[in-house]
């Protein structure tokens, strides 16, 4: 039996809509340099994300793309894309993998609510044909990039579209992320007597 497919290669270039669960490399985010706020020459910082995954709702991405082509009403455009930083599993989990087997065993099967582990990407499922190592996502580390800016950066080949998570691995990621964002803080845990 064929193992289930976790990823497929992303389309190259800016001619196709971004997808939820799409992993990109060399994504640049620009941020205001706070010290220069309200000064004559405002400065900004370029933050380089080696890897990042899109978590914006898939249908919103499709509608946004159609709106940019003028096929549906302009109000369907979404101003920003929601991302989570993606790190190699080695960088993210290396320490606990070596020091805390119990914690690592929980993380690698995605039972720790804050983190999401992703298996490696085979070269055939990577648009650049290079493949990607095992990766991890920390749901606390999300950020946004203006949608038109990312399409332009892809068009300029600055950001690279790599691969897209396939169902049900995509839904597994998006539902865990949504759950993490909607978790409820309790003043005190239930007391066990």
């Amino acid at each position: 039996m064929q193992p289930p497919r976790v990823y497929r290669a992303a389309p190259l270039g800016a001619g196709h809509a971004f997808r939820q669960g799409e992993i990109l490399s060399t994504v640049v985010q620009t941020r205001l340099e706070l010290a220069t706020l309200n000064t004559p020459g405002e400065g900004y910082v370029r933050v380089h994300h080696p890897l990042a995954v899109i978590l914006t709702q898939d249908c919103d991405l499709e509608q946004d793309f159609k709106a940019r082509q003028g096929h549906v009403a302009a109000d369907k455009q979404i101003p920003s894309l929601l991302f989570c930083e993606v790190a190699t599993a080695e960088d993210l989990y290396g320490f606990v993998k070596q020091t805390n087997k119990k914690l690592w065993d929980r993380i690698r099967i995605n039972k720790d609510e804050r983190y999401h582990f992703l298996q490696k990407v085979e070269p055939g499922d990577d648009a650049l044909g290079q493949g990607l190592p095992e990766m991890g996502i920390d749901f606390k580390r999300y950020f946004t990039i203006p949608t038109d800016e990312l399409y332009r950066r892809v068009e300029l080949s600055e950001a690279q579209r790599r691969c897209i998570l396939q169902s049900p691995y995509l839904e597994h990621l998006s539902s865990r992320f949504a759950y993490y964002l909607s978790r409820v803080a309790l003043p005190l845990d239930h007391v066990s007597e």
Binding site: L92, F95, G136
Partner: protein, 84 residues
């Protein structure tokens, strides 16, 4: 209430909005007294919607262009999982 002329077919040329208007008159005449205040409220709401001028779309303020410069550039750090 006015009706359109008959045309050559001999059939009355009744446009759709007029048909709906006649149907509304019929339905309204069938509503019992206890439903009339509710019907009035609904109709008054519709009357207001179609008689008041639509609000003009608000123009967003145009932000002035500000010269900026890149002050820093870095690869974002990874925050490894700790044992906490």
């Amino acid at each position: 209430m006015s009706f359109h002329d008959l045309k050559t077919s001999g059939e009355p040329d009744v446009p759709e909005p007029l048909k709906a208007r006649i149907a509304c008159h019929f339905l309204l005449s069938q509503i019992p007294d206890e439903g009339m205040s509710e019907a009035l409220e609904s109709l008054a709401g519709l009357w207001l919607f179609y008689h008041l001028p639509p609000p003009s779309p608000r123009q967003l303020p145009v932000s002035p262009r500000v010269p900026v410069k890149v002050t820093r550039e870095y690869v974002r750090p990874v925050f490894p999982v700790t044992e906490e």
